[in-house]
Every structure is written in C-alpha cells, then in structure tokens.
C-alpha cells in the first residue's frame, strides 16, 4: 500500500521489473502458440518440448494444402527433388510427402471472412439506426425495450440453438451462409445498439437542434450532423462486432456441417494423412488470431466500452 503515500510520479525500477515479468509470464501461452506454429513436423510432438529448431512455414502450408504419401517405389530421386516447387520440396523435407491439392482451409477462412463482414455490416447498420432513435426520441417503455434487447444477447447460445436448429431446418437455412449471417446479426445487433446508444448519448444534442432550426429535416440532421460525430463510435462498434462474429464457435458448430462451416470449427479438427495435425491446428489458430490482435491494439481506447456493452465509456 506504500505507493498510496507517494505522489505517483515515478515508479521504482523494481516494480516495473515485476510488471514486465508478470506480463511476460502471462503472454507465454500466446508466445508458445506463435513458436509452435513455426515448428517442423518432427518437433511438434517432441518430448521434452524443444525450442532449438529451424523455423519453417510447413504447418501453414499444410493448413491450406492437402498432403499425401508418395507411393512406395515412387519416392522422388535427388534430381526430382531439385526440380520440385518450394511447397513440394518443403513437404518432402518435413514429412516425405507431396502436395495433393488445396485443402478445405482456404474455403473455411473465406467463409469466416464473408460471414463476419456481412453480419457486421448489417448489425452495425441496424444497431446505429435503432440506437439513434432510442437515444434521441421520446418513447414509452424505452427502458423495457432496452432490457428486452439486451436480454436477447444474454441468452446462452446453446440454449437458443435447439429451437433455432428446428426453425432453420424448417426454413432450409441450416448450413447456409445466410442462416449463419442472420444468427450473428441477431446476436450482435443488441450489442451494437447498447454501445452505439452510449456513444449517441455522449454527443451533445444542441448541434442537431441548431440544424433543425436552420431548416434541416430529421433525416438530414441524422445523416449530416449526428452520424459524422458518431463516426469513431461506429468504427469501434464495427470492429467489436467483427471480432465477435469472427471468433464465434457454438452456432457455427451446430448450424453448419459442410458448406458454411467457419474456420473456428475447421481448425479444431484438422486431420491430415498424418493423423490429428497439431502443427496445422496451432498454425491455423495463430493465423486466425493475428487480425484479432491487430484490432485489439487499434481499438485499445474503446476496449472498456466494448466489453461492458457501453456501460463504461472512458
């Protein structure tokens, strides 16, 4: 408690060292994940775990390409190895295998991408409109409506998926992009409304009133006065919605089987001709995580607002 007694101007070097050590320990799993994704195949399962290896991107290649064994007696000669493209040579060096076409990986990442983008765009659009209306107009039972909106988000995913599964099967929406997009929109829109309402509430209403007096219509004030002021809020909301959709797992697991499966579900179960391909699983997770990490740093000012549904904004 001693630091209460001093004016917090400079922190003892010791304390800073402690902080840095704590952070390093805390980030070890992520670092280990990064290291593992560059491990050669033989090192992935090595006991004890070793860090003395030549980094390779073979795991990433296996994420996007299928590999298969050479038929016995048809192993490449030294000359053939010389003539191989870099991917095949890499596979030969790693596991004595060859590339056998593109794997499911690219399609799954593309699915994640399409579904996240589309659902984010829709939920931010709907969320911004609703939040503006709820922030600016008088309305009976507004608090109840806000509670209703939030409560839809708080429902455990697994609970609602049972009836949703039935409904989607009836509407032939299971395993479609549109089905998953609709689901993600429904679950993100409540988040978008709460966060955006917070941002709109923070914007002084006077500008809009002045514009109305000057002869703007409500729609014009919304478009030309309110929206530009809420731009950063909209950006933050967009990034958060994107991360939520991108990371989502339970719905994708239950609602998709083949066509619309996203990367979170795919990466979990990557199997190659070598069995469960832990190299590709960790490499895939790492690749999947990179955009999230970048967004987190871009959004650092809005993290608090994001994780508390706009309840805390600072």
């Amino acid at each position: 408690m001693t630091n209460f007694n001093k004016k917090r101007k400079c922190v003892p070097v010791m304390l800073q060292i402690v902080i840095i050590i704590v952070i390093i320990i805390y980030m070890l799993p992520v670092v280990y994940m990064g290291i593992t994704s560059f491990k050669p195949w033989r090192v992935v399962f090595k006991v004890p775990p070793t860090f003395n290896f030549k980094p390779t991107i073979a795991s990433f290649v296996r994420l996007f390409y299928q590999t298969s064994d050479y038929q016995s007696g048809k192993e490449p000669t030294a000359e053939e190895i010389e003539r191989m493209d870099w991917k095949n040579r890499l596979m030969w060096e790693q596991t004595n295998q060859q590339i056998g076409g593109i794997s499911e990986g690219p399609a799954r990442f593309l699915n994640s991408f399409i579904i996240s983008i589309a659902s984010t765009a829709l939920s931010v659009l709907l969320g911004t409109l609703t939040a503006y209306a709820l922030s600016r107009f008088r309305m009976k039972g507004k608090n109840d409506l806000m509670f209703f909106i939030l409560s839809t988000r708080m429902l455990p995913a697994v609970v609602v998926t049972i009836p949703l599964f039935l409904m989607f099967r009836f509407l032939k929406l299971t395993d479609t992009h549109i089905g998953l997009i609709l689901l993600y929109v429904a679950f993100n829109v409540s988040f978008a409304i709460w966060v955006m309402k917070g941002f709109f509430d923070d914007i002084p209403i006077e500008y809009e009133e002045a514009a109305l007096v000057d002869g703007y219509t409500r729609m014009q004030t919304f478009r030309k006065i309110a929206l530009p002021q809420a731009a950063t809020g909209i950006a933050a909301t967009t990034v958060f919605c994107y991360i939520f959709s991108w990371n989502e797992y339970a719905f994708a697991l239950i609602m998709t089987s083949r066509v619309a499966t996203t990367a979170t579900v795919y990466i979990q179960g990557i199997k190659g001709s070598l069995g469960i391909d832990w190299g590709a699983i960790i490499a895939g997770s790492f690749l999947f995580f990179i955009p999230v990490a970048i967004f987190t740093f871009l959004m650092r000012k809005y993290l608090l607002a994001g994780i508390t549904f706009g309840a805390v904004r600072k």
Partner: protein, 301 residues
C-alpha cells in the same frame, strides 16, 4: 378535431419539415425488433412448448405432450443436480480467482510509467481471442504425453484432458487465463476513478494504507468491480467453447451445464428433455441478467 401532431424540438414552438419523429422512430427501431422477435423470441416459445413434450428432432416424429415430466425428471435426477452443483462450483472458483487476480494486476498497472497503456492492451489480448481456439491451443499445451505443462512442472503423464477429476480444473485454468484481463481492465478504470485529493486528505489525517484501501479505493472502484462480477458470473455459467474444444463432450467431459445441454440436444437428440434443461438454465441466467440491468440503470442515474 384532428390536429396533426407537429415536429417540435424539446417542446419548443418552432417546427421543422420532413418525416415525423414517430415515423422515423418506427422506421429505425422496427426492423431490429422484428429480427429479434423472429430469431430469438419465436424459437424460445417453440422450445418452451417442446420442453413439455417427448420429442426427438432426429427421429422426426410428432412431439408427444407429457406435461412437466421433463422438468420432474431433471429436478429429481441426482446426475443433473451434480451438473448444476459442479457448474456452480466452477463459477464460484473461476469468478473469485479472476476478481482477485484481475484486481491485483490492475493494482500493479495503476502506476505512471512509460508504455503503461501498451502493457494493458497486451494483457487484454487473450480476452479478445476466439475461446474455441484458445481451448484447442491449451489442449496442445496440456497434452499428457508431450505437452509442455507436464514437462515444465515435472508432472509425469498427468491427464489434464480426459480425466474427469482433473479436466474441470484445466478448464478453470484456461477460463481464468482468458478472462482475468476482463476484470483487470474494469479494475484499472475503477482505480483511476478515485480522485487523488482523497488520498491526500487521508494522508493529512495520517490514515494507514489499509484504511485508505478499505475506505477510499474499494468503495469508489466498487461499481466497476460489481459489473465485472456480474458479467463474469453470467459468462462463466454458460461457458461452452473452452471446455468443448478442450475436452469435448462425453462421459469424460467436465460436468458443466452447457456441455451437458449440447450433449443432450445434439448427440442424444433428446430434444424435449434438452429444451426443459435449457429453460432451467435460462431462468438462472435471466435472474443474473436482471440483477445486472437494474444495477446498470442505477449506475446511469
């Protein structure tokens, strides 16, 4: 008689042109409400009905009405009680540890030094990762035969993944690792809400460090800590992604309600019973949500 309602600003007398406010309100709010009703509320009523029936989606028969049979079965079967009590145990431990660790971390970081916000953001990263992929990464780390944890701590072949006595705790560790930053972020905000002059005043009165902590720091940062508490309780109660990827469902998986529900609904395809279980979970979560919203409303005022 029919005086057309006019657009006015805050009851002021001037008017403006264009669509009426009510029209805009409806235009802006209705699509969202319809979407939520169709995707969230309608299915909920459907499953309420199904929870009173014997029905399996897989067999595609018609639901047979059995009244409260499913609920009776759930509430009298000791297996299901074990699910709920284990989940409660899980929630209490996980939330308590996260609150304590998160607050301690915040305390460490609540100093003025270079790159402070960089460190805080870095610590927040695990929280933003996909829980499912965090789970699978830890499955690699925890692997009994070649995982780094067993080697690092000389634990031999300790089975973190498929021993039902242990995998509850490995799930806890992952959950705590992932969500402590959440509490940390809120605590940092709470701590910086305490105005410096209060400490200075206490200083003049020669208050002890503990006194300042209990009477200044805690009360002022309490609202944010309570938000963290309620949020984490809700999330921990319905945790699914992490244990699903870490251990999968089955006899060996930890007794967490969300996993059990998934098992009932999508492995055994016992739709009626799973809907009833879903409703019990729903009531618990809604109770906590209600608490949270009331608290939020109080806070806003």
């Amino acid at each position: 008689m029919f005086k057309k309602e006019k657009n006015t600003v805050r009851g002021n007398s001037f008017e403006y042109t264009g669509l009426r406010d009510v029209t805009i309100l409806r235009l802006f709010v209705l699509p969202t409400i319809i979407l939520l009703l169709v995707i969230n509320i309608f299915p909920l009523f459907w499953s309420l009905y199904l929870s009173f029936t014997r029905y399996s989606v897989y067999k595609r028969g018609t639901p047979i009405w059995i009244g409260v049979g499913n609920y009776v079965k759930l509430l009298t079967d000791s297996n299901y009680w074990a699910q709920f009590s284990t989940t409660a145990y899980y929630v209490i431990i996980v939330v308590a540890v996260e609150l304590i660790l998160g607050f301690l971390l915040a305390f460490l970081l609540h100093q003025k030094f270079k790159a402070r916000s960089f460190y805080i953001t870095m610590l927040a990263v695990p929280m933003m990762m996909s829980p499912a992929l965090v789970g699978i990464t830890w499955k690699y780390i925890f692997n009994p035969s070649w995982g780094i944890v067993n080697w690092l701590f000389r634990l031999g072949q300790l089975d973190w993944i498929s021993n039902p006595k242990i995998n509850l705790y490995s799930t806890m560790i992952v959950d705590i690792w992932m969500w402590t930053p959440f509490v940390m972020l809120l605590s940092v905000a709470g701590l910086s809400a305490v105005p410096e002059y209060l400490y200075e005043a206490a200083e003049i009165d020669r208050a002890s460090g503990w006194f300042k902590f209990w009477n200044i720091t805690l009360p002022i940062s309490a609202p944010l800590l309570i938000i963290a508490l309620i949020f984490r309780t809700m999330e921990a109660f319905k945790t699914f992604d992490i244990p699903m990827s870490l251990t999968g469902v089955g006899a060996i998986s930890p007794k967490l309600v969300a996993l059990r529900l998934y098992d009932l609904a999508f492995y055994r395809w016992d739709t009626g019973l799973s809907c009833a279980m879903a409703y019990i979970i729903l009531f618990i979560v809604l109770a906590v949500t209600n608490l949270y919203i009331r608290y939020l409303n109080k806070l806003r005022k």
